[in-house]
């Protein structure tokens, strides 16, 4: 899995992803509504600036708190392809990998990467390259089950392949 895109936002430490849509919007699955509120408390017009394949960058413990589905649901919908963070809260990481969304833990990334920097991420190798400078950061390679889940487009697809239509 190779990702290439710009750092659309750089979040700080212990970031509670529910803030992306606001806690008042964590019970709706209306994707148009979620698009309309995405990142509204951080910046104007975030959704319109995203190119498909763009990435999120964050500090330590990204996904802290009670992570709900809506924030990353809308991020995927607008074209965000993955997250590179210093580290991830375990519940957030488990659920988003199961949703087929690549997350890469890469110590040092949040101090090196500025917003809109272009990144190339070799997810399975755990490597991040800043395209402009060629600087490379070594992160943690994902666990084998995480690779299987992301390659299958999510844990549910993997289970369906195994249980419903064995190849």
């Amino acid at each position: 899995v190779i990702l290439e895109g710009r750092a659309a936002w750089v979040y700080g430490d212990d970031f509670d992803v529910d803030e992306i849509v606001g806690v008042e919007n964590i019970r709706t699955f209306d994707i148009d509504h979620l698009r309309s509120v995405c990142m509204q408390s951080f910046t104007e017009g975030f959704v319109e600036t995203i190119h498909p394949g763009d990435l999120l960058v964050a500090g330590r413990n990204f996904g802290y708190g009670h992570p709900h589905d809506q924030p990353m649901l809308v991020m995927r919908e607008i074209g965000i392809a993955g997250v590179v963070a210093e580290s991830f809260a375990p519940l957030f990481a488990r659920t988003e990998i199961f949703n087929g969304f690549p997350l890469l833990a890469c110590p040092g990334v949040s101090s090196v990467v500025r917003r809109w920097a272009r990144l190339r991420v070799d997810w399975e190798e755990g490597r991040v390259t800043l395209v402009s400078s060629g600087q490379t950061l070594e992160g943690l390679r994902p666990a084998p089950e995480a690779v299987k889940q992301v390659r299958a487009g999510g844990g549910k697809n993997l289970l369906l392949q195994k249980l419903v239509s064995p190849s």
């Binding site: 212990d14 708190g65 589905d69 580290s87 519940l91 488990r94 659920t95 666990a143 089950e145």
Partner: protein, 429 residues
């Protein structure tokens, strides 16, 4: 019922490694290994977008209409139960019908599932439980490894097994005892204050040592239930006679305790003297260390609502402590205090001990047991309201209006604040 040592013959293994080895059918496992484990219980609570989706996926996408081991499944109805409307019954009807069809355990309105699980004997020492919600780690009070897996719950739901990486263990040796008017929530928030919101990231926190036995079961449950906010995957307390006596009162099942070997490999080992802990308050917005402070630093802050309840409080110890402070006092006229016993059994016990009468005479409202106030479904906060709460979360909007604020503290600090009408130090009452 005989209590026997865990039958996994290993050396240098943590309790977590032993529990996951047994659940995976392996002689031993080590932190960092990938395993496919069979949880002793698969727990969920009925909430739109979760159990309705899981039932649909199980039956319509996976074609599974008969569970291999229905007794493994435990579904709690503890959310969205307080309005008594037809809408609520409709919401839970699908789940009730599915449980009746499949033979899955359905625990309907007996209180907060993360606590009721213990009362019904679903949390046995040395066993492994998964839930979509990470507060299930409170069952670590009984030596049960409870791991929250959010959307990955689909995997055990359809296969009765789950793939995971065996977590490492941080050992916390507790000494001393908590001072009067200091409780387990203060211990939990102290751990975050001292070690950060990612202090124990991805690990299981194992509590032991002489101080651990000074904590009541409810206090241990509160610490475990909130351990996710230290970054940890779960928490385990070493079983002691208090746990054994309790377990024998709720279950006839054979018990196989898992205890870390003396030469177990820990990621880290930390000593905490319980007598050094003081009452803490967590400011609105996040549970992290930057938001945590001594009660003396925030005392005097105006608050208008108080909530004692949730899976991380509301137990008999909390109700006794709150009643102890409120006896002979009145809740401040500008303040509304609600106490929600964590389960029906706890409410019955509080009634027998005369605590409900003390609380109500002091002006508090005692509500039926449920999760509903913690997430703003029952008695939501209005715009501009400021609440001091023993709930699990203080992000803006959690308990109602996105323009309300939530401070978090222990049951005693909430009770003291209720009397004062502002945040107050329970030691100074």
């Amino acid at each position: 019922v005989a209590t026997v040592a865990c039958d996994i013959a290993t050396v240098g293994a943590t309790a977590t490694e032993k529990i996951l080895a047994r659940a995976s059918g392996l002689p031993s496992v080590k932190a960092g290994e990938s395993v496919q484990a069979t949880p002793d219980r698969i727990m969920v609570y009925d909430f739109p977008g979760f159990v309705d989706v899981l039932i649909h996926q199980l039956e319509d996408e996976f074609g599974i209409h008969q569970l291999t081991t229905p007794d493994r499944y435990v579904v709690f109805i503890d959310h969205l139960v307080t309005n008594g409307t037809a809408e609520e019954s409709d919401l839970h009807r699908v789940t009730r019908e599915w449980a009746a069809r499949t033979g899955a355990n359905l625990i309907d309105n007996e209180g907060i599932g993360h606590h009721v699980a213990a009362e019904l004997g679903y949390a046995l020492p040395g066993t492994f439980v998964v839930h979509f919600d990470a507060h299930v780690a409170g069952l670590g009070a009984f030596g049960t490894l409870g791991i929250g897996v959010h959307r990955q719950i689909l995997e055990p739901w359809v296969t009765e097994t789950i793939g995971l990486t065996v977590p490492g263990t941080v050992r916390i040796d507790l000494t001393g005892a908590l001072a009067p008017h200091v409780d387990a929530r203060d211990l939990l928030h102290t751990l975050i204050w001292r070690h950060g919101a990612d202090g124990f990231l991805n690990h299981v926190v194992e509590f032991g040592g002489p101080g651990a036995s000074s904590l009541g079961l409810g206090e241990r449950q509160a610490v475990g239930g909130m351990i996710m906010f230290t970054g940890a995957m779960s928490a385990l307390f070493e079983a002691d006679d208090l746990v054994r006596t309790y377990i024998r009162s709720v279950s006839d099942a054979p018990i196989s305790e898992a205890v870390s070997d003396a030469d177990a490999t820990y990621v880290d080992r930390i000593a905490v003297d319980l007598s050094t802990i003081e009452p803490l308050v967590v400011r609105p917005g996040s549970t992290n260390g930057a938001h945590t402070d001594s009660v003396t630093a925030v005392a005097g802050t105006q608050v208008s609502k108080g909530y004692i309840g949730s899976c991380a409080s509301g137990r008999i110890e909390d109700i006794r402590a709150a009643a102890g402070l409120l006896a002979g006092h009145r809740v401040h006229p500008s303040f509304a205090l609600t106490v929600v016993p964590t389960s029906n059994r706890i409410r019955h016990q509080a009634e027998r001990e005369g605590l409900i009468e003390i609380l109500e005479r002091a002006g508090a409202t005692v509500a039926g047991s449920s999760c509903d106030q913690c997430f703003g479904y029952a008695r939501p906060l209005a715009e501009g309201e400021v609440c001091i709460s023993t709930g699990t979360l203080n992000v803006r909007g959690r308990m109602g209006s996105p323009r309300s604020d939530i401070y978090m503290a222990s049951a005693e600090t909430v009770a003291a604040s209720a009397i004062a009408g502002r945040i107050a130090d329970p030691r100074q009452l």
